[in-house]
């Protein structure tokens, strides 16, 4: 995280030196300082920072993709003349246990196809998820475990 701050500081320094605080110039400065940090990666332990930020970016990309997919699924479901829904609530055993990660996982589950998180059990091990199509619960559980939970663990551990 301190490397991120250094990166940000260098970006601001770049904007100050080049005397234009526009958005595009700040982004350019950020990329430039990331490259500069990459050049001295041996000294500052940059390798972990790079892979971690790559994982956060890939989590965000997966999230946007799943959000658009889920909106499309809702569209086809709602506009089909004969709606085939079999809703239900299933329990999902979580591997993540920190508060922030649980919040992130619950939010991501809510915005992904056909699932909506309803509640967390008191011992914070189980997430209760409402699914609009409960015909294959094990497949849904496996999707969450292989998709989001694994990405979250990769990005924040």
């Amino acid at each position: 995280m301190s490397l991120f701050l250094i990166n940000l500081l260098l970006a601001i320094a770049w904007a100050a030196v080049s005397a234009s605080f526009t958005l595009a110039n700040l982004i350019f400065g950020f990329i430039l300082s990331a490259v500069a940090l990459y050049l001295i990666r041996e000294q500052v332990g940059y390798v972990g920072y790079l892979t971690r930020s790559w994982r956060v970016i890939s989590l965000a990309a997966l999230f946007v993709y799943e959000l658009i997919l889920s909106a499309w699924r809702v569209t086809t479901l709602v506009l089909s003349p004969r709606m085939k829904v079999s809703p239900g609530i299933f329990a999902y055993p979580m591997k993540v246990d920190r508060d922030g990660e649980i919040t992130l996982l619950a939010n991501l589950i809510t915005l992904t196809p056909g699932t909506l998180s309803v509640d967390v059990s008191d011992d914070r091990r189980t997430l209760y998820v409402h699914a609009i199509d409960c015909s294959d619960v094990d497949q849904t559980r496996a999707d969450i475990a292989e998709g989001f939970e694994r990405k979250i663990l990769e990005a924040f551990r």
Binding site: L67, I68, S86, S117, H130
Partner: protein, 119 residues
């Protein structure tokens, strides 16, 4: 040339977003119970208004406006699941039942949800 592309992209995004908003509204009408309706409202509605805000970001010439529009998109995407989650939790805790044709309910009956205030 760039302005033309801006116009086409934003027009396209506006229509897509409005169509998703309409889908969310129709879903809220057609789906059988409150929990299924939340799916339509939280997903299609978020994508709909998000697409229209991105269209505003694309069409504006001012970087500050673009940044604010993108911040608004992030804000909508952060708050929509939280409010849907809270509403589902409150409805379930109070005892609004699932649709009678629901296939599964693995939630324990005595699951305590939040603090129950005395009326």
């Amino acid at each position: 040339m760039i302005l033309e592309a801006q116009n086409y992209i934003s027009g396209f995004l506006i229509v897509i977003g409005a169509a998703f908003a309409l889908v969310a509204a129709i879903g809220v009408i057609r789906l059988p119970d409150i929990y299924s309706r939340m799916h339509a409202a939280s997903k299609a509605g978020t994508v709909g208004s998000g697409a229209m805000l991105i269209a505003l970001a694309v069409v504006s010439d001012d970087p500050a406006t673009t940044l604010r529009a993108l911040a608004a998109v992030a804000f909508v995407m952060l708050t929509a699941p939280v409010s849907a989650h809270l509403l589902a939790k409150a409805a379930y805790a109070v005892g609004y039942k699932l649709w009678s044709k629901s296939v599964l309910d693995e939630m324990p009956k005595n699951q305590s949800t939040g603090r129950k205030q005395s009326p």
